[in-house]
Symmetry: C2
């Protein structure tokens, strides 16, 4: 079952307390695809400028990422430059140059239109809607968004939500969208406006899945070294959707498992700059980490003594 | 097996966005005891002034809290006055009047000295040490502390840690104590200085147990209404220690279960002002909530498709 992502393909320059990188692979579609492909082949739609290092994209293709929906056009590629605080809790955007991304209009190639699993990375909700107009009959659509669209294009975003199965946002976005600071009430509000499930990502703490019939929490994997948080959310989405696509099962229990795969892939993403950690990552390592999540929350309830 | 707590017995005046309370029961020993007694009888050592509403303490006694270690002396009781922000994320101390608590010197009554489970609430580490000099042979000692002692009495605190089995702190305290912002490295640092286990409480996100052989995470119970966060940490400790004392089992697996009881009791604490929620709480409700925790993190791993 095909898995399609539409999103940004960027060059990131990131400074953390541990080092810095310049013009490294970045963008939502790149983090999603390099993560997701560990679980399932991924089709990518995006745009790059004529300055983009295509050899690096070619390396992605070898792993099972279909880049035939990536167009290279005249102009500069999307560049983002940011700096993290000493504890990685805050980041400052130093520079954003949209380049050719400013004129991005996703055109889904014919061979991708039958995609059954679709992830709409964080782009203008009008473009996200246009993607949904081009795909035929997806089994599950998930999307991300950000404060900029929540404030600037709320009406279009609300239209989009009615056509989406899963919204993945961070806690600040869930609060801003719903106008409620309690994330569980915020999630209920979102569920009333379209999606069947909401995933609220809470960074270093974990992520929560809220549906009509239950709540599932996956803590963040306990890492003693976090190198670069950039892309963790998209890597999470890649693991989440990759698991769903590979199992072809959108039952609530399988969405729980998908959350764990998301948590695992998000944890790998932050262990190195850019998508470096995924370069050599094996499925055995993914399995190992998923098992570690199982141990992280494992407990059995014994009855209180008087019941025994 | 007896469970002893030494800590503050206070009168709290709290303002939240949902209301306010004046001179309500508060203090670490009170939150610990009213929570813990749902699982196991609790012995309390503390001090109150001659203005303390003893009838309210008597109500606690009826539930199985032994107050024979609480001395009432001439003077004013410890009073704390605070105000929470609209989202309950920050609180401001408006007034602290130590009263008779300033001269508190814990004297453990003879009949409490055989206590097997001991919780040292957040008081001067010199006093916490003096408690350990008075108890004979505890099976497990847990303690709490705060920024004030970490900064002002670090040497004594480090001495205390060598005699403690479990340190329960929040994430800011773990960071301050260890000088490391990564809470897992912070926990490892603490483990090197005495305790066999560290519990790092993360407020609305949950709490993590770190020991030599594993890490266990219990998310916070998903509440759509949080009324007053005061005392949640001590109620957590009450559930944690109450479970250990009632089961007489300090194995790592039982510490995991104790974390869940802690999480359950902490979640009840924040549902009402002061210790009100515990007034009518039944063991059935506790069991119900513990079961809900089990569902909150439940997932089963299926093999990746190619393994099937």
């Amino acid at each position: 079952m095909s898995l399609l992502v539409v999103g940004s393909i960027a060059l990131d320059s990131v400074q953390t307390p541990f080092g810095s990188t310049a013009d490294a692979l970045g963008g939502s579609a790149v983090f999603f695809a390099t993560s997701g492909v560990l679980l399932h082949p991924v089709q990518v739609v995006g745009v790059v400028g004529d300055d983009y290092p295509m050899d690096r994209l070619d390396r992605m293709a070898k792993r099972g990422i279909d880049l035939s929906g990536v167009s290279q056009v005249r102009g500069e590629s999307f560049r983002w430059k940011g700096r993290y605080s000493y504890d990685l809790q805050n980041r400052e955007t130093l520079e954003t140059r949209l380049g050719v991304f400013a004129e991005f209009t996703p055109r889904i190639p014919e061979q991708f239109r039958g995609a059954r699993y679709v992830f709409l990375g964080n782009i203008d909700p009008e473009l996200q809607l246009s993607v949904l107009d081009q795909v035929h009959d997806p089994a599950l659509v998930a999307c991300d968004t950000m404060n900029y669209w929540i404030q600037g294009k709320r009406d279009v975003l609300m239209q989009l939500l009615r056509r989406v199965d899963v919204l993945l946002v961070n806690d600040a976005e869930a609060r801003q969208l719903s106008g409620d600071w309690n994330i569980y009430r915020a999630a209920r509000w979102i569920l009333k406006h379209g999606p069947r499930f909401v995933v609220v990502k809470q960074g270093e703490y974990g992520a929560v899945l809220v549906g009509a019939n239950g709540i599932f929490y996956v803590p963040a994997y306990p890492l003693e070294q976090v190198f670069d948080p950039t892309g963790a959310g998209d890597a999470f989405a890649g693991g989440f959707m990759g698991h769903l696509a590979s199992t072809q099962d959108t039952s609530p229990d399988n969405l729980r498992r998908a959350m764990v795969y998301g948590g695992a892939m998000g944890s790998f993403a932050v262990e190195a700059f850019s998508v470096q950690r995924f370069d050599e990552l094996t499925r055995d390592e993914v399995r190992e980490r998923v098992r570690a999540f199982s141990d992280l929350v494992r407990f059995d309830i014994t009855p209180l003594p008087e019941e025994a």
